[in-house]
């Protein structure tokens, strides 16, 4: 994490959470970051009225809202035509960190899932990461959202379908393979003299 200053003063954030106390805490955290006033609503319906204008730079959304799931709202956001809305950074908050809940959030197209209770440190780092990460957006018939494969954990079970998944043609070997001793030699720690 770079220690450079971040300017939150002109960021327009929309918070969607049915828990008024959680909103109060979140607003205080954002105010501490220098974000003067975040707008908050408590339902999916209210959010859908405000979002199409494209006047928000950040969406912070609870996973369980009184009139629906946060994941459904995020899918709706990702289906909007306006790029400002469709590609806006979305942080999902959840108190329930069972794998199913987190996967549901991730697969709806959020940038990041943050566990409640929210700590200022975690929120600051995740917001900066969501803004500055060069992760591309992936659009398919069933998913629109940031690339979910931002950590390389090997190819998917099907072998990979992206161009970047294809194995390059290496050609015929031109030299004999290394022996095990030679490989071990590379792995062995060696003493080194440092000259000043």
């Amino acid at each position: 994490m770079k220690s450079d200053s971040m300017n939150f003063s002109k960021v327009r954030a929309l918070i969607i959470d049915s828990d008024q106390f959680a909103v109060e805490i979140l607003c205080q955290i954002l105010e501490g970051f220098g974000l003067p006033q975040a707008l908050s609503v408590d339902s999916v319906e209210a959010a859908k009225e405000l979002l199409p204008d494209g006047k928000f730079d950040l969406l912070i959304c609870e996973a369980m809202l009184k009139d629906g799931a946060g994941a459904d709202l995020v899918r709706w956001v990702r289906s909007q035509a306006s790029p400002r809305v469709r590609y806006m950074p979305v942080v999902m908050l959840t108190a329930h960190t069972q794998l199913g809940y987190v996967e549901s959030g991730r697969d709806s197209g959020v940038n990041v899932v943050v566990k409640k209770p929210v700590s200022p440190t975690v929120l600051f780092d995740r917001l900066v990461w969501s803004a500055n990460s060069p992760r591309p957006f992936i659009e398919t018939e069933t998913y629109v959202g940031p690339d979910r494969r931002f950590k390389f954990m090997g190819l998917p079970e099907c072998g990979g379908r992206r161009k970047t998944d294809l194995v390059g043609e290496l050609g015929e070997a031109t030299e004999p393979n290394l022996s095990q001793d030679e490989i071990d030699g590379f792995m062995k720690p060696a003493r080194m003299m440092v000259l000043e």
Binding site: S3, S5, D19, I25, D57, A95, Q98, T142
Partner: protein, 166 residues
């Protein structure tokens, strides 16, 4: 993703990126310190809410039937979320753990389609012991209690899945 589905890869810099990096602003350390101070300033106002929420849960459970409706479970879930969040924010560790256990239990109930009142009652009674202002509970007793609550959840799951523990 189906194998014949085509994917578009789009590189888009959002407005948050430009605003955060527009110069000026606040360092990470200062931002986190200011935010933490602001949150601490809310403790006086929000800690009493924990007592209110636990009392409201007790009141709702006192007149509820033995088998609860799904709407009721979802209402309890909302209150549990409030308790968990406030307890976690203001360092009420015991209450946070009980609220977490209640949340896991409610998630199981929704998933399994079973809605007995007793496991929720047990959790809410335990939460009462950890309300702000109550005498502190010894750490070992706290661990024992949390483990018992976990076994209540395990019992419910086993019963619902047709493999009773007893």
């Amino acid at each position: 993703m189906k194998s014949n589905e085509s994917a578009r890869v789009i590189y888009y810099r959002n407005s948050l990126h430009y605003l955060l990096n527009s110069g000026g602003g606040i360092t990470r350390e200062k931002a986190i310190s200011e935010a933490s101070k602001n949150v601490e300033g809310l403790a006086g106002e929000l800690l009493p809410v924990l007592n209110d929420e636990i009392s409201k849960l007790e009141e709702a459970l006192s007149s509820a039937p033995q088998t609860l409706s799904e709407t009721f479970i979802r209402e309890v879930f909302q209150r549990q979320g409030v308790i968990y969040n406030l307890a976690g924010t203001f360092g009420c560790s015991g209450l946070r753990q009980i609220a977490k256990s209640l949340g896991d239990l409610l998630a199981d109930m929704i998933e399994l389609g079973v809605r007995p009142i007793e496991p929720i009652q047990v959790h809410v009674r335990a939460a009462r012991m950890f309300r702000p202002g109550m005498p502190p509970v010894h750490e070992e007793a706290q661990t024992l209690l949390i483990n018992h609550l976990a076994s209540v959840r395990q019992f419910l799951r086993s019963e619902a899945e047709g493999r009773p523990l007893l």
